[in-house]
């Protein structure tokens, strides 16, 4: 798969006086999971809908799988919208077959793919049942099958895990990771930062329709080094609170979470305490995406 599967070039979209997306640019590298992150209402779904050409951007350009018009590449994309549903009166197999054929699959391909995916999703016994007879969790798995049945090169999942129980969540997560390992690109939109942290290779943080930060997870984390340390100590620790380079101390189980004053070097802190107490463990705490986000946009992102 040559080239970037998705290039977003300063797209904007307003609804009346509300600016949903404002001059957003991003580039999706191939073969990775790309997280669209941000609180509810940040503009994630609007951006995705513009990628899918369900709504037109007011300005800016998009290239999907190297094409400026999505029409020619729709069959190579799998899209699971946030607002999702299926034809309730159709049978499970027929629904998948219909969506697969809309994505350009022929009958032979469908006959091969449908049983395989039903089995993988533990829905083999339900193939001839009507969709409305399935439980919510099953319907969501069915929805996922319908999204990936055409073996898309680019998979766009808008809040794919909402409402799933932990078992099914793991099942789907592993499949998504597997698809990534096959070289497919995945756009994964969520407002759950912790979820994104566990699965994404790249992230794009959006707030109020604007990019806050983007890059690989490591890059982003490295850029926003935390000044928090986790230490496990033996001995009298009260003095730490009084050190000039320490901003605050929080007790966490047997460990202490130490926040350093701005600009302070953790190395320095270690040197200071190593003579006075016994250090059992010392860890520079990696910043969570949530922390980075809060740091970048302030408290408004707290949910």
């Amino acid at each position: 798969m040559p080239g970037d599967p998705l290039v977003i070039d300063s797209i904007s979209k307003s609804f009346g006086s509300v600016e949903a997306v404002c001059s957003l640019s991003a580039k999706l590298p191939p073969g990775c999971i790309y997280g669209f992150l941000g609180p509810n209402g940040a503009g994630k779904t609007t951006t995705i809908r513009m990628v899918m050409d369900i709504i037109h951007p007011d300005s800016g350009q998009l290239r999907v799988l190297g094409q400026s018009s999505i029409e020619t590449v729709r069959d190579r994309i799998g899209y699971m919208p946030e607002e999702r549903g299926l034809y309730r009166k159709m049978s499970v197999k027929n629904v998948i077959a219909y969506l697969g054929s809309l994505h350009g699959m022929d009958k032979a391909g469908l006959d091969r793919a449908i049983p395989r995916w039903l089995e993988r999703m533990e829905l083999s016994d339900w193939g001839d049942k009507k969709v409305e007879e399935l439980s919510r969790g099953m319907q969501q798995k069915l929805q996922f099958i319908a999204t990936v049945i055409n073996e898309p090169e680019l998979l766009i999942l808008d809040e794919p895990f909402s409402g799933l129980d932990p078992l099914n969540l793991d099942l789907l997560k592993n499949i998504v990771l597997g698809l990534r390992d096959e070289g497919r690109s995945v756009i994964f939109s969520t407002h759950m930062m912790e979820q994104a942290e566990r699965i994404c290779d790249y992230i794009l943080l959006i707030n109020n329709g604007q990019k806050v930060i983007d890059g690989s997870l490591e890059q982003v984390r490295a850029q926003y080094k935390s000044n928090a340390l986790l230490v496990e100590l033996e001995g009298e620790t009260d003095f730490i609170r009084k050190l000039p380079i320490v901003a605050g101390v929080k007790k966490e189980d047997r460990k202490l979470e130490v926040s350093l004053a701005g600009g302070a070097d953790p190395q320095e802190f270690l040197k200071t305490i190593v003579d006075k107490v016994r250090v059992l463990s010392f860890e520079v705490k990696a910043p969570s995406l949530h922390e980075i986000f809060v740091q970048l946009v302030g408290g408004e992102a707290d949910e």
């Binding site: 369900i54 729709r74 549903g85 034809y87 159709m90 219909y98 054929s101 809309l102 319908a146 766009i156």
Partner: protein
């Protein structure tokens, strides 16, 4: 194009599997049966028996009395289904008669008689006048037949006074037997006039049903896809326009099936009444053209309305203007059939949503409509179809992703202009 056909195919097969559709099919013979009975009923009221009419008579011209009696007796004898029961009152002179007139008028008012006929003195010399009092002026045949009988009695009395035998006069006045032959169809023939009136109506109902009732299936299908949230999933594979076009096409196929079924039943019914030859090949071609264009016009409007609404109830409000337009031909059918080349019929033919209904009504009533009118109406309709589809597609695109409060008509127009 391929995707449009795929959407259409699913729409078609899923629709004909629904209960509503199967009921609709079963309903076809029932509706036709009702139409059949309706025509029978209309025929009966025009030619069938009616209750006898009670007529009070106060006749001051004694000289015509005998012929009057025989005229009414003869009428009753030759019209067993239109009996007139005569009750005679007599009063010699006017002051007394005046009171009697008042009394009998009152009796008519109270419903004792259907009518009261007063004949003044000297009707034979055209000095006296007659007065016919009735409450049932809407009965347009009663007064003329009474007037005819009175005049007949007066003529016969005059003949007798001049020693001319009324039988001789009748003999001399014998008419020429004549048939009315209709040339509008291919086959020259005498027609059942009542059925002839209802053939255009049957055509229009078929068109109305095929366009409006079937389009409502599309409206419901759009609303269902929207409320079940399946619509955006489908939009991952097809564009909003492809989706709309496919749905319209699928439902159109459903409509064609129903129209053929109902049309066959209608044809059987009117053939039974000897009017089957109105259904010429040309008529069928016109029907197909008007049906296609009319369906595209109305169904794309309803698809747009459906996309903007979350349930059937909300859609009713937005549908009202369309409904009202389509109702006009339904109310005006009688005038249009009576005067297919009249101003009303011509003007209504050129208001696109009404065109298919009005034109099929006019063509069935009067197959020799000016060709330029037919062509002009088709061209106007054909030109308005892409414009409406274009606007509908814009509303559809915006509407299908909107949940919550349904938009007003003004907002819909804004969506068209805005996007």
């Amino acid at each position: 194009m391929n995707k449009i056909l795929k959407v259409a195919r699913r729409e078609f097969f899923e629709t004909i599997k629904t209960k509503a559709f199967i009921i609709g099919i079963l309903l076809a013979p029932v509706i036709m049966g009702i139409a059949f009975l309706f025509i029978r009923f209309q025929e009966k009221t025009l030619t069938g028996p009616r209750p006898a009419k009670k007529l009070a008579l106060l006749n001051l011209s004694e000289e015509v009395s005998a012929e009057l009696d025989s005229a009414f007796a003869q009428h009753n004898q030759s019209n067993p289904q239109r009996q007139i029961v005569l009750k005679k009152y007599s009063e010699e002179n006017l002051p007394g008669a005046d009171a009697r007139v008042q009394e009998l008028k009152e009796a008519v008012r109270e419903g004792e008689f259907d009518a009261f006929l007063f004949l003044g003195k000297g009707v034979l010399d055209s000095v006296g006048r007659g007065q016919f009092y009735t409450k049932k002026a809407a009965d347009i045949t009663f007064f003329p037949s009474v007037r005819y009988l009175v005049n007949d009695a007066v003529f016969k009395t005059r003949f007798r006074q001049r020693d001319i035998s009324p039988e001789l006069i009748a003999e001399l006045r014998r008419g020429v037997p004549m048939d009315e032959v209709d040339l509008s169809g291919k086959v020259e023939k005498k027609r059942n006039k009542v059925a002839m009136m209802f053939v255009p109506l049957a055509f229009m109902f078929l068109m109305f049903f095929g366009i409006f009732a079937v389009s409502q299936v599309l409206l419901m299908s759009v609303i269902e896809e929207k409320t079940s949230r399946v619509i955006e999933v489908i939009l991952s594979a097809v564009s909003p326009f492809q989706l709309m076009a496919g749905k319209i096409l699928g439902i159109y196929a459903v409509g064609l099936c129903l129209i053929s079924l109902y049309g066959t039943v209608v044809y059987a019914t009117i053939s039974y009444y000897g009017a089957g030859d109105v259904v010429s090949a040309g008529m069928i071609v016109y029907f197909i053209i008007y049906y296609l264009l009319g369906f595209l016009l109305i169904s794309s409007m309803l698809a747009a309305i459906g996309s903007a609404c979350n349930d059937i109830k909300e859609s009713q409000t937005l549908m009202q203007p369309v409904m009202l337009l389509l109702m006009i031909p339904l109310f005006a059918w009688f005038i249009i059939v009576q005067r297919p080349e009249g101003t009303l019929a011509t003007v209504l033919s050129f208001i696109p949503p009404m065109t298919p209904l009005v034109m099929i009504l006019r063509l069935a009533a009067h197959p020799d409509l000016p060709l330029f009118q037919i062509i002009a109406s088709i061209l106007l309709l054909a030109a308005s179809v892409p414009a409406v589809i274009w606007a509908a597609a814009k509303i559809f695109r915006t509407g299908i992703l909107m949940y919550g409060k349904p938009p007003s008509l003004r907002e819909l127009i804004r969506w068209v202009r805005y996007n």
